[in-house]
């Protein structure tokens, strides 16, 4: 325990513990901001979440420069909260709280490695491998094998959608699949199953959503955020908030898609089809995990948001200038959490 005490009082220990607690406080304050100003705009919510991840990265060194005595026991006694008091506290007389804290950090690192970092590395390796082989023109391959009606549907769906007409690749797959890839040649991938299942307006909504993703990668907020999120690989709050920011991104793209097509109902009914296909998969006994469950929850939330009247333009002004208030208050409060 003595070693743990001195570790918690070292700069590394203080950074590790304080960044987690500072993130937690920032996350709660971000939600307070959302409630207080009734913010429903996903872009505003995402901006708050970005700061929840950014603040703990730089806050501790800045605080220590401002007040080098911040880690002293004198400061800790008068602080708003002394994290080491909690972490060194023994539960039932023998089990220190820090054991649970380290377990949570270890689980976070595990999730980060296997759910975020490795898939990215694998995806990048596969993409590089594909380029090296020199094939790559999936559109050409599929065009030769698939009936013309798929191309006709895609051309009709793309009509009038702004976004520079990205390449649309039709995949021969009976499942409902639509996704986009970014990079030098961005493309939207649509399965034949999706084209068969959705009507023209729904398909238009789904493709417009993917084009919005491509358009938004020109301002790669999430890519930069992921870099900072990597620095906070041990931080469970950063993990949670990054995922919430990604969910907000989906809603931002929904809004952009609706702005392009002017038809929120078509997009929401397209999402309903995705939800139904997931639920059918569940009835057929496919193994579903927590991730599928949360994915369905997100789909339901997006559907109800799109069908709710006036949601998309409800709070263009609400919560304006709330971000600086949130940042200032978070920085001030976290200064006294050591």
């Amino acid at each position: 325990m003595e070693k743990i005490y001195f570790f918690l009082n070292s700069y590394l220990g203080m950074y590790l513990t304080q960044s987690v607690f500072h993130s937690a406080v920032a996350a709660v304050l971000a939600d307070c901001t959302i409630i207080a100003w009734g913010i429903t705009s996903p872009a505003r919510r995402q901006a708050l979440r970005i700061w929840v991840i950014l603040i703990p990265i730089a806050a501790f060194p800045v605080y220590q420069i401002l007040d080098p005595e911040r880690g002293d026991i004198y400061f800790r006694q008068d602080a708003l909260m002394d994290t080491s008091g909690w972490l060194l506290m023994k539960l039932w007389g023998h089990l220190p709280v820090i054991v649970f804290f380290f377990i949570v950090l270890a689980l976070t690192v595990f999730i980060f490695l296997f759910q975020e970092l490795l898939p990215i590395i694998r995806h990048t390796a596969e993409a590089t491998g594909g380029k090296e082989e020199g094939g790559g023109d999936d559109k050409g391959q599929d065009e030769g094998e698939l009936p013309d009606r798929y191309d006709t549907s895609i051309i009709k769906a793309l009509e009038g959608i702004p976004g520079g007409n990205p390449q649309v690749v039709v995949i021969d797959d009976e499942d409902l699949v639509v996704f986009s890839s970014t990079g030098r040649v961005p493309a939207v991938y649509v399965s034949t199953g999706l084209i068969d299942e959705l009507d023209g307006e729904q398909l238009r909504g789904a493709i417009a959503h993917e084009i919005a993703h491509i358009r938004r990668t020109r301002r790669p907020v999430l890519t930069f955020l992921f870099v900072f999120r990597v620095l906070m690989f041990f931080n469970p709050v950063a993990l949670f908030e990054f995922r919430r920011a990604v969910q907000d991104e989906e809603e931002i793209c929904d809004d952009e898609a609706v702005r392009s097509t002017g038809d929120p109902i078509a997009l929401s009914s397209a999402l309903e089809k995705f939800l139904e296909s997931h639920e059918t998969g569940e009835e057929q006994g496919n193994v579903r995990g927590i991730e599928d469950y949360s994915h369905d929850m997100l789909l339901r939330k997006r559907i109800s948001r799109l069908t709710a009247e006036g949601t998309l333009n409800a709070d263009k002004e609400a919560g304006r200038f709330s971000l600086p208030v949130f940042i200032l208050f978070t920085l001030a409060m976290n200064f006294f959490i050591v």
Partner: protein, 177 residues
């Protein structure tokens, strides 16, 4: 005008919610001290610290130079993860004039108030049969200070004062009586 009013209402709600969070965090800060009787906590008096279960002998000087205020402005103590006590006495001139720290861990430092920023001189002397390290240098705010350190029955004792080392030696002598 309406928009401004709405924003102000939002600010009011945010202030109320933040005040709730502040209260919650304050309660969380108080819990370890209330639950964990052996962790670091403040004491009202030195007598209270001495009476705390688990504390061994606490050395208190019987001599104080003129200007030192008694009772101490701060008394802190912990039994776990190692025994440590910090007693701070104010003077009329400088804040945190005298700092006494006693700990079973040699690495224990209460903070910058008892730390040297620049060491000028360091000598070992013998004081009532103990090997005492006398250090002089600059402390916080570049003020001149002296520090005495020695081992006493498993305790590492340190006393620091913003004054010449001679005064500090007299204080240490009175602690060893």
């Amino acid at each position: 005008m309406n928009r401004k009013l709405e924003w102000l209402k939002g600010l009011l709600r945010f202030t109320a919610l933040s005040a709730g969070l502040l209260m919650l965090v304050s309660v969380l800060h108080w819990i370890p001290a209330a639950v964990d009787k052996e962790g670091l906590k403040p004491f009202a008096t030195v007598e209270q610290l001495k009476g705390e279960a688990g504390f061994g002998r606490v050395l208190i000087p019987s001599y104080f130079p003129e200007g030192i205020k008694w009772p101490p402005r701060l008394v802190l103590g912990q039994v776990r993860p190692f025994m440590a006590a910090v007693i701070e006495l104010d003077s009329k001139e400088v804040e945190r004039f005298l700092v006494i720290s006693e700990s079973s861990s040699p690495d224990f430092e209460p903070g910058n108030a008892s730390r040297f920023f620049s060491l000028r001189q360091s000598v070992n002397i013998e004081l009532k049969g103990r090997n005492v390290l006398v250090e002089t240098g600059l402390c916080k705010d570049a003020s001149s200070c002296s520090r005495l350190s020695w081992d006493e029955e498993g305790l590492h004792v340190r006393i620091l004062m913003h004054s010449p080392s001679l005064e500090l030696i007299r204080i240490a002598e009175s602690m060893l009586n």
